[in-house]
């Protein structure tokens, strides 16, 4: 009977071999996939097994970690002034994942980044636990505070940039939420409440919400007029009949009240915010040229700051709609950051710098592992056009609709806007203000403010100047103060 016994021996060997092959499959071939699977609790356990690195603004930590005493997750994320900084940090929750910087820079914060390999190895050999690196942001704490306080209990957002570099200085969004409240393992109820809140506190309005930009978009239309040679300079008369009807229609494009818009110069038209003048410019240039100009300012594409923005839209459209888009209505939509980029490009003499908010990534031993260099994104307008636009935007603040943004002894240029939306403009209007401040060292700050109005908000341009301009002013002041 030895022959069959030998065969049984081979058969048993094959059984063991099959097990070995299977084990190689799950522990070698598929190991990485299984290890990183998002449902594998080890991933979260490892993430909260040691204090996370911190997100830093102006040398101060705006995040922290606290020991929980729990079995699974030893540490919990905490936030300093969480609601104010939420649009920057995002959240890092033991149960609900993470978002924004907490998510995008997770590898550095947990210490898993490849560039921290040496650190990790040294720590392992010397017996120290794994440590996370820090994320140093470009934000300006004073400007952020001014923005957040200025918005108060209104719904809206503020984005502020350093036009010379593209550094994001302030990024506020209200209503906000405190990410500390959803950081722990037992915060399911808080999460549910936030998630179902109609005011969407977890939405980062500054980067990810698009609004019709209203009259603030007239800066772009003016730029397109100058760049395309439709008008030579801002002080010569335009060809602007009054009343003016939208092309291919019998609808008259009205101005806000009885404004001196007939054949007004660009300076005058921007000062009082003439719909008829800018609507006609857009119609004269045509949809394609307007799209080109808007795209040069950054429309129709996303920007990774590294938090990805929503794309602002200047749409392909028919002639009357295109004319409306030229005054920031119709299907024209922009994020607050996009509007700040427009002000910044004008203030920076036509050069648009790519916005970013992570300045440095720092290893636990304080070595800088990544230093972000400012990058030019595009040159949407020539230096000459920029100079002329600055001049008329400064007129707006000096003696136009934006006087509320005046800062003594500082050159401020700006533009107000009040955007209608909804069916037959039935929705509450959005109050806008975009501006920049200029010093001898160029322009240190450009800012865009949007406030989602309520029933009591006036429906004319005064709203932008009344509600949004003071916030822009205090943000600019905060930056100017820290600049000195």
């Amino acid at each position: 009977m030895n022959k069959p016994v030998r065969r049984i021996a081979v058969f048993c060997g094959l059984l063991v071999l099959a097990l070995m092959i299977r084990d190689n499959w799950i522990q070698f071939v598929k190991a990485g996939e299984l290890k990183a699977d998002k449902n594998n609790r080890r991933v979260t356990i490892a993430r909260y097994g040691q204090p996370r690195g911190d997100i830093i603004v102006d040398g101060q930590k705006i995040t922290g970690s606290v020991e929980t005493g729990g079995i699974d997750y030893k540490f919990k994320r905490t936030y300093v002034n969480g609601a104010m900084w939420a649009p920057v940090t995002g959240y890092s929750s033991q149960v609900f994942g993470s978002s924004q910087l907490e998510s995008l820079e997770d590898k550095v914060l947990t210490g898993d980044d490849d560039r921290l390999f040496f650190n990790r190895t040294v720590d392992m050999i010397t017996g120290k636990g794994k440590k996370g690196g820090d994320v140093i942001t470009t934000l300006n704490a004073k400007a952020q505070e001014a923005a957040f306080k200025g918005l108060g209990d209104k719904q809206g957002a503020v984005a502020a940039l350093d036009p010379r570099t593209g550094k994001i200085l302030a990024l506020a969004s209200t209503p906000s939420y405190d990410p500390s409240t959803i950081a722990g393992a037992l915060d399911g109820k808080a999460w549910k409440n936030l998630d179902s809140d109609k005011a969407k506190p977890m939405l980062n309005r500054a980067l990810r919400q698009t609004y019709p930009p209203g009259s603030t978009f007239k800066v772009v239309t003016a730029a397109a007029a100058l760049e395309n040679g439709l008008y030579k300079d801002v002080d010569s008369k335009t060809d602007s009949p009054l009343p003016w009807t939208l092309p291919d229609t019998r609808i008259e494009l009205k101005n806000e009240g009885n404004l001196p818009c007939k054949d007004a110069t660009l300076r005058e038209a921007l000062r009082v915010s003439c719909n008829s003048v800018f609507g006609k410019i857009s119609a004269d240039l045509g949809n394609k040229k307007m799209i080109d100009q808007a795209n040069k300012f950054g429309f129709n594409k996303t920007v990774d700051t590294p938090v990805r923005t929503a794309a602002s839209v200047y749409p392909k459209d028919n002639r009357p709609q295109n004319a409306m888009a030229g005054i920031g209505q119709a299907s024209n939509r922009a994020t607050p950051l996009q509007m700040a980029m427009i002000a910044a490009a004008v203030a920076n003499n036509g050069k648009l710098m790519e916005p970013y908010m992570v300045d440095k990534l720092r290893a636990p031993n304080l070595n800088v592992i990544e230093h972000h260099q400012p990058k030019e994104m595009s040159q949407p307008i020539s230096a000459d056009t920029a100079r002329q636009l600055q001049s008329i935007m400064e007129t707006v603040v000096e003696k136009g609709t934006g006087t509320n943004a005046q800062i003594p002894n500082v050159k401020v240029g700006g533009k107000t806007g009040t955007a209608q939306h909804g069916v037959d403009n039935s929705g509450n209007p959005y109050a806008w203000f975009i501006s920049y401040a200029k010093t001898d060292n160029g322009s240190p700050v450009a800012v865009a403010v949007v406030i989602e109005g309520d029933e009591n908000t006036a429906r004319d341009d005064i709203a932008g100047g009344a509600l949004a301009a003071p916030i822009a002013k205090s943000v600019m002041e905060a930056v100017l103060k820290t600049e000195k």
Binding site: M1, N2, K3, P4, V5, R6, R7, I8, A9, F11, C12, G13, L15, V16, A18, L19, M20, R22, D23, N24, I26, Q27, F28, K30, A31, G32, E33, L34, K35, D37, N39, N40, R41, R42, I45, I71, D72
Partner: protein, 476 residues
């Protein structure tokens, strides 16, 4: 420099009266390693989890050493020529199993769970009982051939053991327990394995000629006569019953597989294997068509991730444990996290029984699993080798049956945990928590050791016959 003297030729090429070496000292040396390795592992767990030597270190080391030592002495006395590898390998697996169970006892996650109870102390007790049974088998059974006398008694006992759990409540979806108040649960299936092997061996030894020779040739296969199909049909029917009433796929597969293996060895007819495979496939598919428990297991095997996500959404999913085991294996990678540093306790209460291999996978990695599988493979191959060396057909059949059953059990459990085949509720021999399993497997090894002792024992020198010169004696 002095001239190198030629090596003396020590290899024994001629028959000598000294007989083959007993290899008992080899066994002792191997046993030393088999005790030392778990001791180091134990130390490692303590250092990794608490940063200090575990307090029970000395007791544990002495305990395991003592068990192994006593086992060895008894083998030396009562089975002098036994295979020297079986005892050390079993000791090694038992020792590592104890460390794994103790390690899981230390897990705060499992301590917080209501269904989990620390098991290391009990398991040490069970191991001692296992060794006691091992010793008893070696001492009581002078020669394995006496077992042949109990062929039909074995059958009755095995049937009793298999049927008994049907009258007790199901635990965790399988009806494989006898619950005795005050003592706890016994899994009679583990013991039935050995008793059934004795019955099969005795029965097949008698019937093998009839089963092998009376057959018709059809398409290159020797088809058995209808009436000779009786035994295999009976065993098949019985394992189906086990599957249906005890919802225990593993045990049913194990018994049927063992029978087919032994039938094949007894008759040397490949046709039996073909029949066996066809019948088990038919049985499995047939039962799966109406038994929801089996369907769930198959579903969880085909798509563990899908089932897991389903259960996460609050729907009925049945793969939480399978998926947790897969993650444990994957997270271990090639070298593992090291003793005490994995999270295999996420599997839950079964982490130290059915799923103990996942802890090996996570903490010792691919390398550790390979080593453990090799040890199991070695035990099986030593068993088969014993069968080859055995001089009597009963011993051959019994050894093959036991080794085959051991191999099938390892395959079914490890394959289930690793997701190679659907998961079944059986225990990893020697390693998994559970008294019945460890005790029964020690008995299994004892029987193999006894057979190997008889097989390797030098044949007694023929008594000098005064009239050998004058007459020709015909010896068998």
């Amino acid at each position: 420099m002095s001239a190198i003297s030629p090596m003396p030729n020590t290899t024994n090429t001629t028959i000598s009266t000294a007989g083959p070496p007993s290899r008992r000292n080899t066994e002792l040396a191997l046993l030393a390693f088999a005790v030392l390795i778990p001791c180091f592992a134990y130390m490692n767990v303590g250092l990794a989890m608490d940063g200090e030597m575990p307090s029970g270190m000395l007791g544990y080391g002495i305990g395991l050493g003592l068990l192994a030592g006593v086992g060895h002495l008894v083998v030396r006395k009562f089975a002098k020529y036994a295979d020297p590898i079986l005892l050390p390998m079993a000791t090694l697996l038992n020792g590592i199993g104890l460390v794994l169970i103790w390690r899981l006892d230390q897990s705060p996650r499992l301590q917080a769970s209501k269904v989990y109870a620390p098991a290391a102390t009990n398991q040490l007790l069970f191991s001692a009982m296992g060794i006691a049974l091992f010793i008893a088998v070696l001492i009581v059974i002078k020669d394995h051939r006496v077992l042949q006398r109990y062929t039909y008694i074995s059958m009755v006992v095995a049937l009793g053991l298999l049927i008994a759990p049907m009258f007790f409540p199901a635990k965790f979806g399988a009806r494989i327990w006898i619950t005795i108040p005050g003592i706890g649960g016994i899994q009679p299936g583990e013991f039935a394995k050995i008793v059934l092997a004795v019955f099969f061996a005795g029965y097949l030894m008698v019937k093998r000629d009839a089963l092998a020779l009376a057959s018709r040739r059809f398409m290159g296969l020797y088809l058995p006569r209808g009436r000779d199909l009786g035994p295999i049909l009976t065993v098949w029917g019985f394992s189906i019953l086990v599957l249906v009433f005890e919802t225990d796929l593993g045990t049913s597969l194990l018994f049927f597989g063992m029978f087919v293996v032994m039938l094949y060895v007894a008759t040397e007819r490949t046709s039996w294997i073909v029949f066996g495979l066809l019948m088990s496939a038919a049985g499995a598919v047939g039962v799966a068509s109406f038994e929801t428990h089996v369907q769930q297991r198959v579903q969880a095997w085909l798509d563990p991730m899908g089932e897991f996500l389903k259960s996460k959404q609050g729907l009925a999913g049945h793969s939480e444990q399978s998926m947790q085991a897969l993650w444990a294996f994957g997270s271990g990678g090639v070298f593992g996290t090291g003793w005490g540093q994995g999270h295999s306790d996420l599997i839950g209460f079964a982490a130290n029984s059915d799923f103990i291999l996942a802890t090996v996978g996570e903490e010792l990695g691919l390398a550790g699993i390979m080593a453990i599988l090799l040890v199991y493979g070695l035990i099986v191959e030593r068993g088969v080798r014993t069968a080859l060396a055995a001089r009597d057909p009963f011993g051959k059949l019994l050894a093959t049956g036991l080794a085959g059953a051991f191999a099938i059990q390892v395959f079914v459990v490890a394959g289930g945990v690793m997701g190679l085949i659907p998961l079944t509720g059986m225990t990893m021999p020697f390693m998994a928590q559970g008294g019945s399993s460890v005790i029964a497997n020690w008995a299994l090894v004892a029987v193999l050791i006894k057979i190997s002792d008889t097989a390797r024992r030098p044949a007694p020198a023929p008594a000098p016959s005064p009239d050998a010169e004058m007459t020709q004696v015909v010896r068998p």
